[in-house]
């Protein structure tokens, strides 16, 4: 039934003119846009086919946009990087008037970094938290404080992601500071230095995380909300925790490169990506939270995204990540490398 609605609205869209195009999407691999059934449904409804290219870091994504003008039609950009991409002229303002689903995007996300001077440079798509998850086999009660990382009882059973920004912001939370404006970086460094002997290894991808956790190497490790939902779905004994100290929230948007020649097809694709019907299907396979209020409401009550991230208490504890300039990034990296080098 809803599927029917979607198809007819897309048919109406495609009837307005555009021929069948091949659009090129630049995204993380396995991050929603490349789901087989979703791409097929889109092709069926609009005639547009979708080709993917992947990146493995935000910097690489920006490099690809810089060096390959015209090669991409839709790109996933984290809100912390949207302004930079716009300032470099890599992405253009999006005409949202043709998007049937744009009206239900949560208002809060339209006041984010994705909308600059009233123009939409990224359509709010998904959001999530960077916090931590525990191995439920190792805890009788799930901890509610970030201090569990420093607990001697879990020495050598702890992991954090090998990412300077994430690590420093984690240290800021642990020392009670604002993640977007760290006043006392020395305190963060000292706190992290205490953490180092506790650590078993650093993880760098969901793949590492799952394998280390499945092998029983870890009790507690930093993690992303969407990934935690996916790992739990796949049968790992993990539970995602948003501690009382708070957590870092991020927002991903879908943008259209200024150099794209298939903007109409790109708009149609983004509209499908924020469609509640698509989202409910994606959520079954483990998705981050949707930025579209209608899509979030459409989830079943027991889904992770509704249960955990829909909790107002949780939402009150999170802080959205602000853009980080290059100098600060390099300062954090130097701090982090210094700590790692002294192991």
């Amino acid at each position: 039934m809803t599927r029917h609605l979607f198809l007819s609205s897309l048919l109406a869209l495609s009837a307005t003119g555009a021929l069948a195009d091949e659009i090129r999407v630049l995204n993380w691999q396995g991050y929603g846009t490349d789901l087989g059934w979703a791409v097929e449904a889109f092709a069926e409804a609009t005639g547009h086919s979708v080709v993917h290219e992947y990146f493995t870091s935000e910097q690489e994504m920006l490099t690809k946009l810089r060096t390959n003008p015209g090669a991409y039609d839709v790109v996933l950009i984290n809100a912390a990087f949207t302004r930079q991409a716009r300032d470099e002229g890599l992405i253009g303002a999006i005409d949202t008037s043709g998007m049937a689903n744009f009206g239900t995007v949560a208002d809060g996300f339209l006041e984010s970094e994705l909308v600059i001077d009233g123009a939409v440079f990224g359509v709010p798509w998904t959001w999530g938290l960077t916090s931590f998850a525990v191995n439920t086999a190792a805890f009788e009660t799930v901890p509610d404080s970030i201090e569990v990382f420093w607990d001697p009882a879990h020495k050598g059973r702890v992991s954090i992601r090998d990412d300077a920004l994430e690590v420093v912001q984690f240290g800021a939370l642990a020392t009670g500071q604002d993640i977007n404006d760290i006043a006392d970086l020395d305190a963060v460094e000292a706190k992290l230095a205490e953490l180092m002997p506790q650590i078993r290894t650093f993880w760098s991808s969901e793949n590492d995380w799952n394998q280390f956790m499945a092998a029983g190497e870890l009790d507690v490790a930093t993690y992303w909300s969407g990934s935690a939902a996916r790992s739990a779905d796949m049968g790992l004994p993990v539970e995602f925790v948003v501690p009382k100290e708070g957590a870092v929230a991020w927002l991903d948007g879908l943008s259209i490169p200024d150099s794209s020649t298939k903007k109409e097809a790109a708009v149609a694709f983004i509209d499908w990506m924020i469609d509640p019907e698509f989202y409910v299907g994606w959520d079954k396979e483990g998705a981050p939270a949707s930025a579209n209020a209608a899509a979030a409401d459409a989830l079943p009550d027991d889904s992770f995204n509704k249960r955990v991230l829909g909790d107002p208490d949780v939402v009150a504890r999170v802080t959205f990540q602000a853009p980080v300039d290059d100098a600060t990034r390099e300062k954090y990296l130097a701090l982090w490398q210094g700590l790692k080098a002294r192991q």
Partner: protein
């Protein structure tokens, strides 16, 4: 005397066990049901079933094999002739040419790959399979030259000179005297060239057109979400296939060097 020979064989056997331990684990895990490579072992053929319907992995694997074969042929031919010239002739600047082989080996491929991306973009080669080939061959060349040279240094020049004195032209000398002698080196160089290309991630990643990914690119980009033992399944098939092919080759051709 016999004890020494037996000790030698045991040593060789242990080294082979060491070399194949992770390969066997890789193959075993392709028959293990757990998507997280969990132990204990639980036999399943589901990853092979999944693989049968996964066209992305199969086309990427085929593309990787074809590219690696082309790279092997080109890099072995160019590398062997360069090694021959470096061995045969003394000329000013020879040391520099030899030292120049080290930067591509010493500088991490990540940096070389990034540099290629910018440069190919700037000179208009752009992206695509030709660019990938150019990059792979360049990275394989130093290995071929060094390995062939490792064989050449023990070559007795007087053999070439004698053949020439008997009236053979340089090409005949190369074909009838030099090449048979260095054949093991050329084969080893070719095998390394294949390995360099077949495992090359960075250059393919930066230089391949969207949608034209190779197997390593597929593996590295899927690591974010977690790759499944399908990767083990396809790797196992490739190893078993190449092992069969190689044993057939070893049965009919001799390239280990004879005296």
């Amino acid at each position: 005397m016999n004890a020494l020979r037996i000790a030698g064989l045991i040593w060789l056997g242990l080294v082979l066990v060491f070399l194949y331990a992770p390969i066997l684990v890789m193959a075993a895990m392709s028959f293990n049901a757990s998507p997280f490579y969990q132990l204990p072992f639980d036999f399943s053929t589901r990853w092979y079933e999944d693989l049968a319907s996964n066209t992305a992995i199969r086309t990427a694997a085929t593309r990787s094999v074809l590219i690696a074969l082309a790279v092997t042929v080109i890099a072995t031919a160019l590398g062997t002739s360069a090694a021959l010239a470096l061995f045969r002739y003394d000329f000013p600047g020879k040391r520099i040419l030899q030292v120049l082989l080290f930067p591509p080996i010493a500088i991490p491929w990540l940096i070389t790959g990034t540099a290629m991306l910018i440069f190919f973009f700037a000179i208009g080669v752009g992206r695509g399979t030709p660019a990938v080939l150019i990059g792979h061959v360049a990275l394989a060349l130093p290995y071929v030259i060094v390995v062939v040279n490792a064989r050449l240094v023990s070559f007795d020049r007087t053999l070439e000179e004698a053949a020439r004195a008997l009236g053979a032209n340089p090409w005949t000398v190369t074909r009838r005297v030099t090449l048979p002698w260095i054949a093991p080196g050329v084969v080893a160089g070719a095998l390394f060239a294949f390995a360099v290309s077949f495992d090359q991630f960075v250059v393919s990643y930066f230089l391949a057109k969207p949608g034209d990914s190779t197997l390593p690119v597929l593996i590295y980009t899927s690591i974010r979400k977690g790759f499944t033992p399908e990767i083990n399944a396809v790797s196992t098939l490739i190893i078993v296939g190449s092992m069969a092919l190689m044993l057939v080759v070893a049965r009919f051709f001799s390239f280990g060097g004879h005296r």
